[in-house]
């Protein structure tokens, strides 16, 4: 039977509980998996497949590690989704908006409006383009953070795209709220300008965010 202790260690990573206790836990988990694999073998599964199947009963090793740490230290671990999605997403949102604020403060003063069909977009592009160029960094940071925390690829992707998703939410809410609050305003919103703004603020940033995140979109790391 293959020694699965190293395989478990590689998946669990460091528990931060002290060498002796970690060794004891590894040994115990290893014995459990060996028993499970032996039972599978007894039912006719090939040894390698049995060892793999036993190991695969744990679908999320980083979460398992968090659970063990929480049980051992008595501390309540941060909710898994908070760690792998909400925190990196919040970081991306803050970073993206911070960079946008810098572009707006130090770039040309401008405004946009969807009431005016003849918007002069030139100054708008002047701060938008530097901001868009900075967005791959935001996507990369969020995706890497999420992956380090043990997030799955979908968590990494959603974290990286958080700034664009948040802006999409804002845009989607603007029209219905405008209609509900003041029909005169809603009647003056030009659909073409609204759609253009949605593309500029949602789809355009989504692309560099995705480009930045792409190299980091991988299955979660075992070690932290």
């Amino acid at each position: 039977m293959p020694d699965n202790r190293e395989l478990i260690k590689a998946r669990l990573g460091k528990l931060g509980l002290g060498a002796r206790r970690e060794e004891e836990i590894l040994r115990e988990l290893s014995e459990h998996l060996a028993d499970h694999a032996a039972a599978l073998e007894a039912s006719g599964v090939a040894p390698d497949a049995a060892a793999r199947e036993a190991l695969d009963t744990v679908s999320n090793w980083p979460e398992f590690r968090n659970e063990i740490q929480s049980a051992e230290t008595g501390e309540t671990n941060m909710n898994y989704r908070t760690k792998v999605l909400w925190l990196p997403a919040l970081c991306a949102l803050t970073l993206s908006n911070g960079l946008l604020a810098i572009s707006q403060i130090f770039g040309p003063r401008t405004h946009f409006s969807w009431l005016n069909p003849y918007i002069d977009l030139r100054p708008f592009y002047m701060f938008l383009v530097p901001w868009l160029i900075s967005q791959p960094v935001v996507g990369a940071v969020a995706a890497y953070w999420s992956r380090r925390a043990g997030g799955k690829v979908r968590h990494q992707l959603l974290s990286a795209l958080a700034p664009a998703i948040a802006l999409l939410g804002v845009f989607v809410l603007i029209l219905p709220f405008s209609i509900m609050l003041d029909k005169r305003v809603a009647n003056h919103i030009r659909l073409s300008a609204f759609l253009l703004m949605t593309v500029i603020w949602v789809l355009l940033p989504a692309l560099p965010l995705l480009i930045g995140a792409a190299p980091f979109l991988r299955k979660p790391q075992a070690q932290s």
């Binding site: 004891e24 836990i25 040994r27 115990e28 988990l29 014995e31 459990h32 998996l33 028993d35 499970h36 039972a39 009963t57 744990v58 679908s59 999320n60 979460e63 398992f64 659970e67 063990i68 929480s70 049980a71 051992e72 008595g74």
Partner: protein, 113 residues
């Protein structure tokens, strides 16, 4: 097989483990095997769901793990029910009994106990 919600599983897992260890000390794999057998597979604990629960119970002083030689000659960590764990068993049984009675009254859910 009907899937059991994780929170219910955790809560009921403590009672199941204490009840099993009340008869004899068992190691982790044997605990998970017996729970699956005795519940007809409705409650199932794998590595990831069982050990955090056992370690939490050990921290609370309900069970105590000791390395002992198993029948096959390998050393295994056997979990023993402590005095504190024994004290927990009766109120937990009562709590779950009341829970199922309440469910039975409201939704016609029968319980074995």
């Amino acid at each position: 097989m009907i899937g059991i919600d994780t929170k219910i599983k955790r809560g009921s897992g403590e009672l199941a483990i204490l009840a099993l260890l009340d008869h004899e000390p068992l190691h982790g794999y044997e605990i998970s095997k017996r729970i699956a057998q005795q519940t007809g597979g409705v409650l199932q604990f794998n590595l990831a769901s069982l050990y955090p629960l056992l370690y939490r119970m050990e921290k609370r002083g309900w069970v105590k793990g000791k390395w002992e030689e198993a029948q096959n000659g390998r050393k295994r960590r056997y979990y023993h029910l402590t005095r504190n764990g024994k004290k927990q068993l009766a109120p937990l049984r009562e709590e779950w009994g009341m829970f199922f009675q309440a469910l039975h009254r409201i939704a016609g859910v029968a319980h074995a106990g």
